[in-house]
């Protein structure tokens, strides 16, 4: 069974001068355990698409299946979401931020603590649970966000430009860390980014979207072996894939 299946999804925004087509005829399938990256120009609707996959927004037409069942509302047991920077609750510690989804479901305290500690250890923040977000660096905050996204152990993790606000070096490190976490948990990941280097480095498959209305104009399979290494960025294959995606974005 596919982890995510989207069939002819379209979305039209109700604007002042009638409807504005935002997403047009999107179909995609993601196999379980795959890492799929979506790239596209600003305003192409990739974040909207992600919000729909998360059940946070409703498409005009088309269906989204996750684990074979439609997504109509947020379901954190099937889909975890990691947002752009600053999505942690500043009034909660790293531990409490990570526990948050469990606390909503009324999971008992001991179980919550155990799960959150396990997740913080997974993302490399063992011993930082008592810190507040303002006491953490940008990269550490996003590690907590990932821990929070994974705490309910959903098969699918959606990530909306999670490293966009980080400096280049931290961003590379976090990408590498994410691949480590992914290989340990074998989640299905859908990841949105602006960075073509990040896209090729992380992905099994890159979906390229056009400007409004957003359509999928290319599906690029990345044949680079796992685990990925920084050296691969200097290879011809990497450069050619990056170039192909860039050409697609430029001409549409």
């Amino acid at each position: 069974m596919t982890a995510i299946q989207v069939d002819s999804l379209s979305h039209i925004y109700a604007g002042a001068e009638g409807g504005v087509p935002a997403l047009k005829d999107i179909s995609l399938e993601v196999e379980p355990g795959k890492f799929v990256v979506i790239v596209g120009p600003s305003g192409c609707g990739k974040t909207s698409l992600l919000m729909m996959l998360a059940g946070l927004r409703h498409q005009t037409t088309g269906t989204i299946l996750c684990d074979g069942r439609p997504i109509t509302a947020p379901d954190p047991s099937r889909v975890g979401v990691v947002f752009q920077e600053a999505s942690l609750f500043p009034w909660l510690t790293a531990q409490d931020n990570t526990e948050f989804p469990l606390a909503l479901r009324g999971t008992d305290r001991e179980e919550r603590r155990r799960r959150a500690e396990e997740m913080l250890r997974l993302v490399g923040l063992d011993g930082f649970g008592a810190r507040y977000p303002h006491e953490l660096s940008g990269g550490m905050k996003q590690r907590v966000s990932i821990a929070r996204g994974l705490v309910q152990d959903p098969p699918v993790l959606l990530m909306d430009e999670p490293f966009a606000a980080l400096d280049e070096q931290t961003r590379m490190t976090m990408g590498h860390e994410l691949l480590r976490i992914w290989s340990q948990t074998r989640k299905t990941v859908v990841f949105i980014t602006h960075s073509l280097t990040e896209a090729v480095y992380l992905a099994d498959e890159v979906l390229v979207m056009s400007a409004r209305p957003g359509r999928i104009i290319d599906r690029v399979t990345v044949p680079l072996p796992r685990p990925r290494t920084y050296e691969m960025m200097a290879t011809d294959t990497f450069g050619q894939l990056r170039e192909r995606i860039w050409q697609q974005l430029r001409t549409h």
Partner: protein, 250 residues
Amino acid sequence: MSQVQIVSARLALLAAILAAWALLPKYGIVDPRLLPALGDVLAMLGKQLARPVVHEAIGVTALEVIVAFVIAVPLGAAIGVLAAENEYFGQIFKPMLFYVFSVPKSIFLPMFILVFGIGFPQKVAYAAFSTIFIVIMSATAAVESVKTDHVLVARSCGATRLQILMRIYVPSMMPVLLETLRISMIFNFTGVMIAEMYASRTGIGHLIANWGENYQMPELFSGVILLAVVAIAFNEAVRYVEGRVSKWRT
């Protein structure tokens, strides 16, 4: 400057003011008929606090302050939240609220006397009236301080509306709400005092106004000290809680 130095400097400043108040009138550098020495004022305060008339006045004033506060704060907060959450309500009423907020409330006091007389209801009504606008403004600001991103995260985690209210809105708004509580008490207390001093038969404000008119300066200053202590104690208590719940705000 280190924390210790700052605290010592503050204490030194307080000591200097109290010493000046104690000594300058004693040596005639300041006219003691206008500013009685601190020692005399404190002695007078002790004497006043033993008088049943003063007890009654304190009781009346305290009740007026509390009742006006209990009316103005929840009502103002509800209107403020409505103005921030309901787009149409906000767009229609906000400009009017801003206009009224800018007008000094004391000019309406004669009207309150005409409508409510000079008793308890007039004090409460006027104090609540002079407080409610700042509460509305601050409550609106408190709601607007809630980040939509945080609400989105909570929804993605499967939060219900009630959970979003309790776990996102309340903690986000708490620092601003406590600040509101503090500032609205200042307005509220001022409202009661003005109403009592302007026209009243009892209350601390009434006593102070009388003492002033009768040139009873030690009595007047003992009233000032009493009010100052109560006002500062309330303000600092809320500020302490504020500091504890807004540690995360940097």
